[in-house]
Symmetry: C2
Subunit: 314 residues, 2 copies
């Protein structure tokens, strides 16, 4: 297992130049967008990308555009040095870490019109709210898929995700990009955006990775107290139970949904949503029949909001 230092690129133009130079040599490029604080889940996305592309770019960028003023941008965990060490250790390594300081800095005078500005290492970032957001004013919306589930409690989230992914695609110009099915709605939104805007990028959805106890891996798990972490296992447990129940013939979604909600609440969680939806359209399903559905959950344990999901094919 070779240990190999990735090239670290912080400048957009330099990033694009690297990609174009590689493409002109006939190389294919895989992009794995992350917000850093890497864990096994991220590393599995990189392994997936390796199957589809010769060169791997991992972007590490906490995107202020997807946080609202009341969300956890300022406390989002980061450990750039540790991330690089992890990337060095993986099989095959990665070729480039794209770590821009500020993807929304366009030179020139930046208006600061009341956005959610937060100090982070290296400078000020601006959370781009409807009426703030500095000079940046272009937003991509995937209008149907963004409405439900996480979109209800986080109204600017998917707008921010779609927009920053488009920016990363335009800067990195990858052939393929890998997204985790842990963020199921995000994955579907990116897929739809790529189709609707004709991006020349193939989007791959990679399976979720769980800790041994069943908890879906997330950078935010670090904020859970040991007690909260124990309680949070109710999410995955109730999802596995729902899958078994469905396979056992209990196909009425209202009942399955109620069981999941009750289990999580009994463990001390506060439900944001539990929904059973079609895997493509993300529209609510009443009865599980042939087609694929996915049970999606968001719940709070203490101050930490966790999401998880379970695909069910009968």
């Amino acid at each position: 297992m070779a240990i190999r230092d990735p090239e670290i690129i912080r400048d957009k133009q330099q990033m694009r130049n690297w990609s174009r130079s590689m493409r002109s040599q006939g190389k294919t490029i895989g992009l794995v967008p992350t917000m850093g604080y890497l864990h096994q889940g991220h590393l599995s996305l990189i392994a997936e990308a390796r199957k589809h592309a010769q060169l791997i770019v991992v972007s590490i960028y906490v995107n202020p555009g997807q946080f609202s003023a009341t969300e956890d941008l300022s406390t989002y965990p980061s450990d750039f040095h540790g991330d690089i060490e992890k990337l060095k250790s993986i099989n095959g390594g990665v070729d480039v870490v794209f770590n821009p300081k500020d993807l929304y800095d366009y030179g020139g005078d930046r208006e600061r019109s009341g956005g959610n500005e937060v100090e982070r290492e290296g400078g000020v970032v601006v959370s781009c709210l409807e009426d703030g957001g500095g000079g940046h004013e272009t937003w991509i919306r995937v209008e149907r898929l963004e409405k439900g589930m996480c979109g209800r409690s986080r109204p600017v989230f998917f707008r921010g995700v779609a927009t920053v992914v488009a920016k990363l695609f335009n800067v990195v110009e990858p052939d393929v990009a890998v997204f985790g099915k842990k963020d199921y709605q995000q994955w579907r939104i990116v897929q739809r955006m790529v189709r609707d805007l004709d991006f020349g990028v193939k989007v791959i959805g990679a399976e979720m990775i769980r800790d041994e106890d069943g908890l879906a891996m997330s950078s935010r798990n670090v904020h859970l107290s040991p007690q909260e972490r124990g309680q949070a296992l109710s999410i995955s447990r109730s999802l596995f139970e729902a899958k078994s129940a469905a396979k056992g013939g209990k196909t009425a979604c209202s009942e399955l949904r109620r069981s999941v909600i009750e289990s999580i609440e009994a463990a001390g969680g506060k439900i944001d949503y539990v929904e059973i939806v079609d895997q493509e359209s993300l529209e609510a399903v009443e009865e599980i029949k042939g087609g694929g559905v996915v049970v999606c959950v968001a719940a709070w344990f203490g101050k930490v909001r966790l999401i998880d999901n379970m695909e069910i094919h009968l």
Copy 2:
């Protein structure tokens, strides 16, 4: 002057393959997006593109996404054969005409949920309204620049323009793209979108071309009766007068604006808007000082809505 047949490409993937093959040979590509029914104005955009790129792609596509249900999608003039003849005759010719049948056809089942469907040669197109628009659901908005002027009377117009331009950029992958300053707000919106989404495309604004009588060239002029055309000259006349007046020291925008409105109304036009705005931000200006402003006009003559503008630098 060589007469040369452009290659006509109708398929997205084939278009991208052509561009990538040319780029891999070190060639640069200039895109001139049009809705067809070409006139001298379009040909001047192509001449401008020639200055910046080695190969020229002209797209001819009437974009349903930028028309609302009440607008003139079905009567928008077209003459594909005549367009090709014009393109053959110009100095240097063009390399490719990209003429997709339907940029919003993604294969698969297309939902038809009450959009503005109109028969055109070659099939049905769907005008993508807020709650319709078939399977396409991803839209780009340039939130500040799209609000004023044409955005007020045509609420889905710039959303449709920004979105189709992004699609064309992703399919054609040009190095530069040329837009006419005749569509001043559109040009600024595309520039801003390119900056905000980090497209690797240089946007060029080309000067407006007028007929000898002063009328700004537009495909829609063909719908004017001779009498309306005579009346419509009041637009350019009043704009030239405003420029002279400003240069002569009459710098209060309220007065300049009133003169333009009065001239056009006296000639029988119906004003949509007359605004004097900063050339970059498109925000209203009260007094013309050092910086560049532009006087923008939209007015109806009969059933034809015309736009025109005049940059003023003191």
